[in-house]
């Protein structure tokens, strides 16, 4: 059988080989249908949807793309909701998170410390950035805010270039995660991605509950609604603004840190993530956390299943979806009317 020959390189256990073979057999019907590549390949998509192996693999693939995107987009949407600022420099925090994590990992060898460094480092950076620069342009016109942010996109990229060099870097996968992927219902799921989805999900839950239930959450929501009143009640709004910006930066930094083992690090790596985050916030609705989650997951799933059904049009599909949402519900799926 031809099936056997692809396996000869595996140096792992016989059990693994057996699982891989099962994986091949389970998704055989799908495979038979994807033997040609066309611009629109609905057969491949339908075949995948009817095979549990393919379904599981592509869904987790969509989830990890979506969850990382969510971490970046939620900070963007939070900062917009409370500070009323479109933070164009948000991608830089994702980049810094990745670089901080790589450096911490190289120095300590500890994955947990690397994640912590990514998140904490960007939180501090966010706080400084907000207090020293962004706080000066609140209430200024949008163009002014945009220019300040854009200037910092360029400055941050060059800072990274100065400190870590212009060439691409790689953090490497920690040994603990260099294991064979799990096989769930015939689909392939790498353990690291399970961790990644878990951490992002946890962040989403903590954030959601924290904002809706805790006292700080209430103050933040109040500050978003009527900052003058909150300030009159003796609450330091500057602190809240700084805190929210730091929180947004931290989440983006965490996303960068989590992505560092699997994505190459370059100055300017935050840019494409930023663009996709904007699509997410436009789809989900500016200022809505649930919207960011749903938008990010939708985008992830569009990518993973779209690449099967529309191999030459995956990128366009995302934008098409955004256009449809904008036309049918201009404030986004979860956006408030006339916020």
């Amino acid at each position: 059988m031809e099936e056997e020959q692809g396996l000869h390189l595996i140096t792992h256990t016989a059990e693994t080989a057996d699982r891989l073979r099962r994986f091949r057999l389970v998704s055989a019907p799908y495979q038979a249908r994807c033997n040609e590549s066309a611009p629109v390949d609905l057969d491949a998509l339908a075949g995948c949807l009817s095979s549990s192996a393919c379904l599981v693999t592509q869904t987790t693939s969509g989830l990890i793309i979506g969850m990382l995107l969510f971490l970046v987009a939620v900070g963007l949407t939070l900062i917009f909701g409370v500070l009323k600022i479109v933070n164009f420099s948000h991608g830089a925090f994702y980049m810094f998170g990745a670089y901080f994590a790589m450096t911490a990992y190289q120095l300590t060898g500890s994955f947990a410390l690397a994640m912590l460094a990514g998140a904490a480092g960007t939180a501090i950076l966010g706080l400084i950035f907000e207090r020293v620069f962004m706080s000066r342009v609140y209430g200024a016109d949008v163009l002014m805010q945009l220019l300040v942010c854009y200037a910092f996109v360029l400055i941050f990229d060059d800072v990274v270039r100065l400190i870590w060099g212009p060439e691409f870097r790689s953090m490497g996968m920690p040994a603990a995660f260099q294991v064979m992927p799990l096989f769930i219902a015939g689909g392939v799921v790498p353990p690291y991605y399970l961790l990644l989805i878990g951490v992002a999900l946890l962040a989403a839950i903590v954030l959601g509950i924290g904002l809706s239930r805790s006292r700080i959450g209430k103050v933040i929501r109040a500050a978003a609604h009527n900052p003058g009143m909150v300030s009159a009640l003796g609450i330091n709004t500057g602190l809240i603004y700084g805190g929210v910006f730091a929180l947004g930066g931290m989440l983006a930094g965490l996303a960068g840190a989590l992505a560092a083992p699997v994505r190459s690090l370059t100055p300017g790596m935050g840019f494409s993530v930023l663009i996709e985050s904007f699509i997410v916030t436009v789809i989900g609705g500016m200022g809505s956390i649930v919207g960011a989650l749903v938008g990010a997951l939708l985008l992830g799933l569009i990518r993973s299943f779209g690449s099967l059904g529309f191999p030459l049009f995956t990128e366009g599909l995302m934008y098409l979806f955004m256009v449809i949402v904008l036309v049918s519900k201009p404030t986004g799926l979860f956006g408030k009317e006339a916020a």
């Binding site: 390189l9 790689s170 996968m173 994505r263 690449s307 099967l308």
Partner: protein
């Protein structure tokens, strides 16, 4: 009464400046003819995502120029390199090239541009008639297409079509030995990715006719995440995968494919893997990836090549790149031609360069040749091998056969209407 002198430029110095300016504008050749040193201009990419390659080109040129200067220069003239950043933009490359000749008085050009910019610099060379050696552009048409041919331009670079022939025949031999019939491809979605993949599969199928391409993926250039591409390929279950992703894209792809254990499930042919920039960055390099050679110290397996790689590393604290050896070779060619012609006259050098064979650490038999009829480099070390996770990274490289390359290249040229 006192006259206060107004601050600023005095009338006298203004006149002097204007005079000097007029002199140099009116008679640039005076300055040029008197110069004891020979200026060579070089536009290359020193900023942006591929800056590392441009820097490695500059490093290699300087390494060789220092040697030439220490040995007395070109026909008695010391070389002065004028190296400028083109930012990788064709129009900027053309502007810089023109400025180097017209304003800086460079007599020759070394064109350190990627394929996009090299065509622009080529037009400048055609226009100004200066001697120009392309050192980085692998696009075959630059020299294969007779419309591009000019007497004063040469290409000292490996060539896309050569790589495709060698890659295709190597992959076909592995295919036959291991029965790999179902192939997938995954390459970046732009001209280089499409052309290179097309040529590779053309020759793969020619040498192994029963090969079938069952899945194609075209991720965007510089795409951060390849997960959906990786899982798509896993679903298609090919027996082998070809990719011409490069640099940070390739290392990202490997990191992401690694955690899906992709490299255990199929043979992977990644033409741009065996380049130190990628090899030294990937932390968990899988064993057994097939790759073409770019620059590797261990191929050709000669003491000269190893010594050159070590000397470069000693000076710049990193390994050379593919662009490095090509630029070094260009300087070797120019030095040898100047010696033969005993002149630095561009026209004479161009005459000598045609068909010139020189001793070179990067030659497949210790020499490389500047082919006379299409002004392009042949006889350089070209081959494929498999990776291991630590130095020397690619322990054994199977050399391509230049006789086959020449035959198929001639056939390809005919099919394109070039001959």
């Amino acid at each position: 009464m006192t006259r206060t002198r107004t601050p600023g430029i005095s009338r006298r110095s203004t006149l002097a400046l204007m005079g000097a300016g007029a002199m140099s504008v009116a008679a640039p050749w005076v300055a040029r003819a008197q110069a004891k040193t020979i200026k060579i201009g070089m536009p290359t990419i020193l900023s942006g995502r591929v800056a590392q390659l441009g820097t490695s080109s500059r490093n290699a040129v300087m390494l060789e120029v220092d040697k030439v200067n220490a040995a007395g220069g070109l026909a008695g003239r010391q070389i002065e390199m004028v190296i400028r950043d083109s930012k990788g933009q064709p129009q900027e490359a053309a502007r810089v090239a023109r400025e180097l000749v017209n304003t800086d008085g460079c007599e020759w050009l070394i064109d350190g541009e990627a394929s996009s910019g090299s065509f622009a610099v080529h037009e400048v060379a055609r226009d100004l008639g200066v001697l120009c050696v392309h050192t980085c552009s692998e696009a075959s048409s630059l020299t294969a297409d007779p419309k591009q041919h000019i007497p004063n331009a040469f290409r000292c670079v490996r060539q896309g079509i050569h790589d495709s022939i060698v890659g295709g025949s190597y992959a076909a031999s592995i295919s036959k030995a291991k029965g790999l019939k179902k192939w997938a491809t995954c390459s970046p979605d732009y001209a280089y990715g499409r052309d290179t993949t097309g040529e590779f599969t053309l020759y793969l199928k020619r040498f192994a006719p029963d090969v079938e391409i069952i899945s194609e993926s075209w991720p965007k250039l510089f795409q951060p995440d390849y997960t959906e591409v990786v899982t798509k390929i896993l679903q298609a279950k090919p027996q082998a995968l070809y990719s011409c992703l490069w640099g940070g894209d390739l290392t990202s792809y490997i990191d992401q494919a690694n955690i899906y254990a992709m490299f255990g499930q199929m043979e992977v042919f990644a033409v741009n893997m065996a380049d130190y920039t990628a090899l030294t960055v990937v932390k968990n390099l899988p064993k057994g990836i097939h790759s073409g050679n770019r620059y590797i110290k261990s191929f050709p397996t000669t003491p000269e090549n190893a010594a050159w790689g070590d000397a470069y590393k000693a000076k710049y604290n990193e390994y050379p790149t593919n662009w490095s050896w090509q630029n070094a070779t260009a300087v070797m060619f120019l030095a040898e031609a100047a010696k033969k012609a005993n002149s630095t006259d561009g026209k004479k050098i161009a005459e000598v360069l045609k068909g010139l064979t020189i001793k070179c650490p990067f030659g497949t038999d210790g020499t490389v040749t500047m082919r006379g009829d299409d002004h392009t480099l042949v006889g350089y070390a070209i081959g494929w091998g498999t990776t291991i996770p630590q130095e020397p990274y690619v322990p054994e490289v199977k050399a391509g056969d230049w006789k086959t390359i020449f035959e198929l290249e001639a056939e390809w040229k005919k099919s394109k209407g070039y001959t």
